[in-house]
Symmetry: D2
Subunit: 275 residues, 4 copies
C-alpha cells in the first residue's frame, strides 16, 4: 500500500490500527513528510489473510478522513509494462534480462518499436514485438496504436527504453505518471538531442543519465533516478556514448524497479523514492 | 526515540498511539524488521510539548509489554564526545570543523592524545586537550585516566580518530557500543597494521576505510560505515595513504553523525543505520 | 605494442626512434616505471604502413638490448576468447552483448559450460556451445577437453564468467596470464565460497567484485579490476546477490576489455592497467 | 615539463632525444593527442643534473621547430597561490590543511577576503590575511588591490575558494588560465546563484560541484574537475548545502593539486588533465 495525503498528526496510528484490525503483519514500511508541501507519504508492505475488499472496507473511511490518495495492491501483482525502443537495444536487453531472472517482477505483454532491429531480441526472450513505423505523416496513427495497446493490454507502465521519437503532448498527458523515459544526460545539463556530443564539446569530467516520468515538457518530467560515470579528456564523443550506455541501462532498470515495486510517489513535479 | 524489540504485529500502532496520547507530532520515522533475528527496530523524531516524564509514563507499559529497549532523548540534546588521537590529525580536524560549523550537534569536552602534535589544533578550536603518554609500563594507568574522564565528563561516545594504541579488552568491554574506531582499510580486508602497505603489496584497485564499534576482537567490531576510493598501479603506498586520508575522515565523520543522531541500532554484531 | 623491461634511461627515445624509422605515427601511448621492481612498461598504438616483419626487424635489436618483453599485434586483431560459465548467465550475457555491439573487439569461438542452462543464450548470439559436465570422476577428462579446445581454436584468453568449478593447478599454470576469473567479493575480503553470505553475515556496508588472473593460488591471482556497490542492513544475502550481479558483470567486462586491448601488463603478481 | 603543439610524427622522439642529451632520466610521462584540434600534449617529469639553462639550450630549437608551448620548471618549485574567500570556510580549510600536511606543494603568500570571518583560520595556519571589503562603489578599487597583490607577490594561481563576488571581465581576462573557481553545482546544470536551492527545487537525485578556470563567461570556463554525491527526497536545500560542502572541497583541492603539479593543459576551452 502507498498513501499520500496532507500531513497531520495521527496518520500512521490510524493506518496501522486499520491494518491490525484485518490482521495484517507489517513487513516493511517507510514514510516521508515533505515540509515544502506539507504532504505525508507512506509505503507499507504487509502480510494479511483478509481479502482486498475487507481491507478496503476498513481503510476507506480513514482514507476519506485524511483526503488521502491510496494505492493498494497484492505484493505478488506483476505490473504490466509496455516497452518502446528504437535502434539502441542496451536498455531493452537490460530490462528483458532482469525480467527473465526475476529481478523485475513484471509482465511485458508487448514491445513496440519504430524500427525492426529489436525484433530478434524480443523473440529470444519470448515477448511479442510490434513494428509501428513513425514518419511525420504516420505519427498520429502510430500514437493511436500505442494508446490502443495500452488500453487493450491493461498496461500499467510504458517504458521508453531509448525510444527516439518525441511523444505528442496529448499522449504525454494521457500517460502522466505512467511512462518513464531515460534521458542520456545528467539533467538538467544537456537537454535535447546528442547530449554526449554536447558533453564532449563542453569538456565535462563526468557524464550521466536520468530516468524521469514523461510529461508534456520534454526532458523536464519528475526525476526518478540518476547516476554518473567518470570520463576524461581522452574519450571521444563516441567513447562517451559507450560509457553512457552502462549508466543508462542501470538507471532505467532501477527506475522501473522502483516504480513497479510501488516505491515512487509523486509530489508535484518531484518524486519520493523509497529505495 | 529509538526502539528495539522482538518483532510482533502491532508495535508501530501501539507506539504511535502512545505518542498521540501525549500530543506528539511525528517528524521523521524509519523502521526495520530484521528477519534473521526477528528483531524490530524503530527510530522516530517527534515534536511534543509534554515533559519527558509524561512521555515515559505513557510509553513505559508498552515498552515493558514489548520487552523493548528504548532510548528517548530531546532532539536538541548534544551528545558528549571524547576524541582520542595520536599523530595523524586529519580525522580530528574533520570532526572539529564539522563540530564548529554545526554539522555535528555534539559537545566535545576533551581531546586525549598519547602525543602532543594535536595540541595546537585543539587550542585553535577551543577544546581542552590532555596529553596521556602511553608506554608498556604506563598503559594501564593511561586507561584508568581515560575511563575516569569518561565518567567524570559524562561522556556518551569515545571516538578513536586514528588513535594508534590498542585498547585493553577491559576498556573495550566497558565502552561496548560507546566507542567508534576508524580502521584504514575496507574491512574485512587488510586487518592489522599498515593496511595501505598491505593493499599496495596486493595490488588492489580500490582502497577503503571502515568505521566500526570497538569490541574486544580487534578490527572485528560492528561496522557502521565504509567507503572506498579508486587507486591505480601508479600509486605508491604513500600515495595510498594520502588518498586514504580523505576516505577515512569522511567515513568516520559520517559514522559519528549517525551515532550521535541516534541513527544506529545494534543487533548482535551488526548495525542498523537509518541514514 | 606493449613492452616491459628493466628500467634505464633512453628507452622511449630508442623505441620511438625505431618506430619513426618505419614511418609509424603514434596515436596513443602510456608508460609506467615501477619503482618497486625497477621495471619499465609501455603501451603504444601506432599507425604504420610497414609490414609486421619490417617493424620487427627494426625493433628486434632494441628489444634484445633492453632485455625487453614485447608484444606486437595489429590493432585490428581480434583476440580469440573462450568463455566458461556454469548456471549464472549475467556475466556471459554482458560479454556477449558487448561483443555483439562492438565494444569488445574479440572473437568468441566457443562457450564451454558444465551445465546446459546457457545453451539457448549462446545459440541466440550465434556462438558454438559445448556442454562438458564435471564430476569428481570426469574432472580430469573435462580439463583435457578444455585444454584441447584452447589449443585447437587458437584461444588467446579464457574467461571464467562465473564458472563454479575450481581448475586444477596444472590447468591454472598452463593458462597463467591467459585466464581471467571474476570473484564475487571485494578481494582480499571474503575469499572462498558464498562471499555474499559472508558479507551479509559480517554486516558490511559495501559489497564488491574482483576480476583477476587465475593462478594456482585460488582467489589470489593478480587483480585487474574491482568495483563496489553500497548496501544497507535492509538487504538480505539474496538481495546482495542481486546487487552484486551488476558489479560482477561490469568488472569482468572491463577486465576483459583491458586485457584484449593489451592494456594490462603483469609485473610479478600485480598488474599495470593502462585504462 | 609540459608541452603543447600541433600534432605530427616524431615529437616524442625529438623531445626524449633532447632530454637524453642533457642526461635526464624520465620518471613520469603522459601524453595525449587531441584528434579534434590535432594538438599534441605532453607532461614529463625527469631527473637531471644539468642547469635549466643547458636544458633550454637543447630544447629551444625543438620547441621552435614544433611551434610548441613549453613550461619547464623544477619539480621542487612551489607555485605561489593566492586564495580568495568570503564567508564559507570549508574550501579554504581544506586547502590550508593539505598545504600544511604537504599534499599541496605550494606557497600561500596571502588570503584575501571581502569578509573577516576567515581571519582566525588564516592566523592559525600562519598565512597573511587581508580584508578587502567589496561594495558596488569599492569594487573597482578592490580589484586593483587584488591585481597589485598578484603582481607584487609573484602569484602563479588565484583560487576562488567560495569567493562570492563576481570578478570583472578585465580581471577574468588578466587571470585567464591562472584562476580557479569552485562552482557549487554539477555544471552545466544550475548555473548562477543558489544552485543547491535550484537542485532541490528540481528534485535531482545527485548534486555536484565543478572546479573550472575563470573566464569572462561566468560559470562557463574550462572544467578541470567535477564530482557528485547522492541525495534523496528527504534532504532539504540546507541538507544539500551540507552534503555539497564535502564535494566542493574535494573537487577544488583536487583541481588545485592538478594545476600546481602542472597536470592541466588547456586546449581551447577544454582541459587535458594528466591525473
Amino acid at each position: 500500500m502507498t498513501l499520500s495525503c496532507p500531513d497531520r498528526p495521527g496518520i500512521v496510528n490510524k493506518v496501522t490500527g486499520a491494518l491490525l484490525e484485518v490482521g495484517a503483519n507489517i513487513l516493511e514500511s517507510a514514510q516521508f513528510g515533505d515540509p515544502d508541501t506539507a504532504t505525508f507519504t507512506l509505503r507499507t508492505v504487509f502480510d494479511c489473510d483478509a481479502s482486498e475488499d475487507s481491507i478496503s472496507t476498513v481503510l476507506d473511511p480513514i482514507v476519506a478522513h485524511l483526503s488521502a490518495q491510496v494505492r493498494l495492491r497484492p505484493a505478488d501483482y506483476r505490473p504490466r509494462v509496455l516497452i518502446m525502443v528504437s535502434r539502441y537495444e542496451h536498455c531493452l536487453l537490460d530490462l528483458l534480462y532482469r525480467h527473465q531472472n526475476g529481478e523485475l517482477a513484471i509482465e511485458i505483454p508487448l514491445i513496440v518499436s519504430n524500427h525492426t532491429v529489436a525484433a530478434p531480441m524480443a523473440a529470444h526472450y519470448g515477448i511479442p514485438f510490434e513494428h509501428v513505423p513513425v514518419t511525420p505523416e504516420s505519427k498520429a496513427e502510430a500514437e493511436r496504436i500505442l494508446m490502443r495497446r495500452v488500453e487493450d493490454l491493461g498496461i500499467d507502465l510504458v517504458v521508453l527504453a531509448r525510444y527516439m521519437q518525441v511523444l505528442s503532448p496529448e499522449v504525454c498527458a494521457a500517460l502522466e505518471g505512467k511512462a518513464i523515459n531515460i534521458h542520456h544526460s545528467f539533467l538538467p545539463g544537456f537537454k535535447g538531442p546528442r547530449p554526449y556530443h554536447q558533453a564532449h564539446e563542453r569538456g565535462v569530467k563526468m557524464i550521466g543519465a536520468t530516468a524521469h516520468y514523461v510529461n508534456t515538457d520534454l526532458d523536464e518530467g519528475p526525476i526518478i533516478e540518476q547516476d554518473v560515470a567518470r570520463v576524461t579528456h581522452a574519450l571521444s564523443a563516441e567513447d562517451m556514448v559507450r560509457v553512457g550506455r552502462d549508466v543508462e541501462r542501470m538507471v532505467l532498470s532501477r527506475a522501473v524497479r522502483y516504480h513497479t515495486e510501488e516505491r515512487v510517489i509523486l509530489i508535484g513535479d518531484k518524486t519520493v523514492v523509497f529505495s
